[in-house]
């Protein structure tokens, strides 16, 4: 268990239609594994009156129809599930490892971040230069390498449809942390690869945003038309528990990929994987090599 977990979760009513459960105030992989284990178990129970089950980074939320199930009745069951799940130390997740191509320092996010310099902590540096410096890296290249070298877990979906929050599978002292913009931007390009707090995201649609901007993803995470094969079952690609490996691609590969997205032939490189939480927590780097071996080995 992480030191930041609460002694006992905070159960709270979100009005009459939501139950909100905060497992910890601070982010850690172990608390996210707990949130996933609890919500996965809750899904299996198919309890009548539950309309939405939303795992998030260090918490989760359940939307209910209180005419069918009383919030207190649900909370009672959630407490039991919490006991059954415990620390989630033996948590196993049947998931996917995904290669996610991004072009770092691309022209589109660069144009955007220059346009909103007056809303940034450090108007004289780029978002990457600033983030590298405050995280103790000598230059932005070392910082980019750290983001690209270890895979990430999708710990929450939301804000807008399909946007994944990703937390890197590295020890706490290696976690990158950056503030959000002093004042949010009114514009962020679609597919921007950004960072805020301890989380990397891909903006699924164009819109407002406050995360630091580093690059742009080549392929979508949201496809409302469901033309791409990976979106056949859902308009949203990421799922909580997915393992994303962000890979820096040059302009040439970026253009190849976007052309395939355009003509409908693009598919993410995906491999099935059973993720063992205890292995990741005990020796993340060795385990990450194994994960990347599964993704790129064949």
């Amino acid at each position: 268990m992480s030191g930041t977990d609460l002694a006992s979760p905070r159960y709270s009513y979100g009005g009459d239609e939501y139950v909100f459960v905060e497992l910890a105030e601070g982010m850690s992989l172990s608390v996210n594994f707990r949130a996933m284990a609890i919500t996965n178990k809750l899904k299996e129970e198919n309890i009548k009156g539950i309309t939405d089950i939303c795992p998030s980074n260090a918490s989760y939320m359940v939307r209910i129809d209180p005419d069918i199930i009383h919030p207190d009745k649900l909370i009672e069951r959630l407490k039991e599930i919490d006991d059954e799940v415990g620390s989630a130390s033996g948590f196993e997740l049947h998931t996917r490892v995904v290669d996610v191509p991004v072009m770092m320092e691309d022209p589109w996010t660069h144009e955007t971040l220059m346009r909103f310099r007056d809303r940034h902590q450090d108007p004289d540096a780029t978002d990457l230069e600033y983030s590298a410096r405050i995280n103790g890296y000598d230059d932005k290249d070392g910082f980019i390498a750290a983001l690209m070298n270890s895979p990430w877990m999708v710990t929450m979906i939301g804000f807008v449809p399909g946007l994944p929050w990703c937390y890197q599978l590295v020890p706490p002292d290696e976690q990158v942390e950056v503030p959000k913009y002093v004042r949010p931007r009114t514009f962020t390009p679609k597919h921007a690869f950004g960072f805020g707090g301890g989380f990397a995201v891909v903006y699924s649609v164009q819109g407002a945003g406050g995360y630091q901007l580093y690059g742009i993803a080549a392929a979508p995470v949201l496809d409302v038309s469901q033309t791409l094969k990976d979106f056949k079952d859902s308009i949203v690609f990421p799922k909580p528990g997915d393992i994303f490996n962000y890979r820096n691609v040059g302009e040439e590969e970026f253009e190849e990929i976007t052309a395939k997205v355009e003509d409908g032939s693009f598919e993410y490189r995906i491999r099935d994987f059973t993720f063992h939480a205890d292995k990741s927590l005990a020796d993340p780097h060795t385990y990450n090599d194994e994960i990347k071996g599964v993704l790129y080995g064949d």
Binding site: T4, Y13, G14, F20, T51, M156, I157, G158, P161
Partner: protein, 324 residues
């Protein structure tokens, strides 16, 4: 059968009971902001629960009917006229092919609902016809109505028998310029100091110009957060938390000076501390306030919220019953 948009008004969108069940994908429900008025409208024209209508905001559109139809107008006091003659609200009305519906200036409230027998028949997206305005999905081509649009209307069997049916006066809500909204305090309310929570619940807040289907922002007080060393992953601002889910109706206070109530088209999660949630019954009242209106937030228990919900359900059932 269609409705031709001669003038769109300020913001006229197709809405129904909402897109429920995809919150975990980041998809908010959208749907009619004042669900009481919207539902009563469907009852008047004899539609099934969940049929889509038009939500008309602040300033009315000018609409022409291509065929005879039965319609009802509910919600805000936005006086309607058919071919220039005033016509009643909260009542099923007959319109003829070629008739033009216009509106006078808004008197009270903020959102009126136009229900048409047969319902607005745009394609469903994820099980709902509601317009999600933030990113432009669902409804009529994902957007508010524009001049020249032809909005398709479904067919209905016995709408003629509805004409003249009225919602009893005692059920018709009156929207003044002051609203009291019931709130269940909770979520990350521990982030506010005790004095600030008291202030939040005692100040008379004013609705700012930032008030739409995504959220309402208020001014009037200044709230403080409990000092703490920010936890891992939260970000450095005291209003920041490790990003979590936001209930519809939840209240956040970025910067301490501008509480925001998130509404039907809002973001589904993020990194600002939430301090409570407006109860579902009162979200409709909120949606009938507008810029410069006054709002007080009142703390209630879950049981009070559930009681209010029950009474609302019974009232809607009574309206439905009375209309036969």
């Amino acid at each position: 059968m269609a409705i031709k948009v001669l003038k769109p008004g300020l913001l006229t969108t197709v809405q129904d009971a909402g897109r429920i069940g995809d919150y975990a994908l980041g998809m908010p429900p959208s749907g009619a902001m004042d669900s009481f008025s919207y539902r009563a409208g469907n009852y008047l024209v004899g539609n099934e629960d969940g049929a889509a209508g038009l939500e008309i905001t602040y300033f009315g559109p000018e609409l022409a009917f291509t065929e005879d139809a039965v319609i009802a107008l509910t919600g805000a006091e936005l006086p309607p006229k058919i071919n220039g003659d005033e016509c009643p609200t909260w009542e099923a009305l007959r319109v003829r092919a070629g008739d033009v519906l216009t509106f006078d200036y808004l008197k009270n409230g903020a959102r009126a609902y136009l229900s048409v027998a047969g319902g607005v028949d745009v394609p469903e997206f994820l099980g709902s016809r509601s317009t999600y305005t933030l990113i432009g999905l669902g409804g009529f081509e994902g957007r508010a109505l524009a001049e020249g649009d032809e909005v398709p209307i479904g067919s209905s069997d016995d709408s003629a028998s509805r004409v003249g049916k009225k919602v009893d006066d005692k059920h018709i809500p009156r929207f003044g310029k002051e609203a009291e909204l019931r709130v269940i305090v909770g979520l990350a309310s521990y982030r506010l100091t005790e004095e600030s929570m008291e202030e939040f619940l005692s100040v008379e807040w004013t609705v700012t110009p930032d008030a739409d289907r995504i959220g309402y922002r208020y001014r009037g007080g200044e709230l403080r957060f409990v000092e703490r060393e920010q936890p891992a992953g939260a970000g450095s601002d005291p209003a920041n938390v490790v990003d979590f889910g936001y209930p519809v109706g939840s209240i956040q206070v970025p910067g301490g000076v501008e509480p925001i109530v998130l509404l039907n088209d809002a973001v589904t999660g993020g990194g600002y501390a939430t301090i409570g949630t407006v109860i579902s019954v009162d979200r409709g009242r909120l949606a009938q306030t507008k810029t410069n209106d006054k709002t007080k937030f009142v703390s209630v228990s879950l049981e009070e919220a559930l009681q209010a919900r029950k009474e609302r359900r019974e009232e809607l059932a009574a309206i439905r019953e009375s209309l036969g």
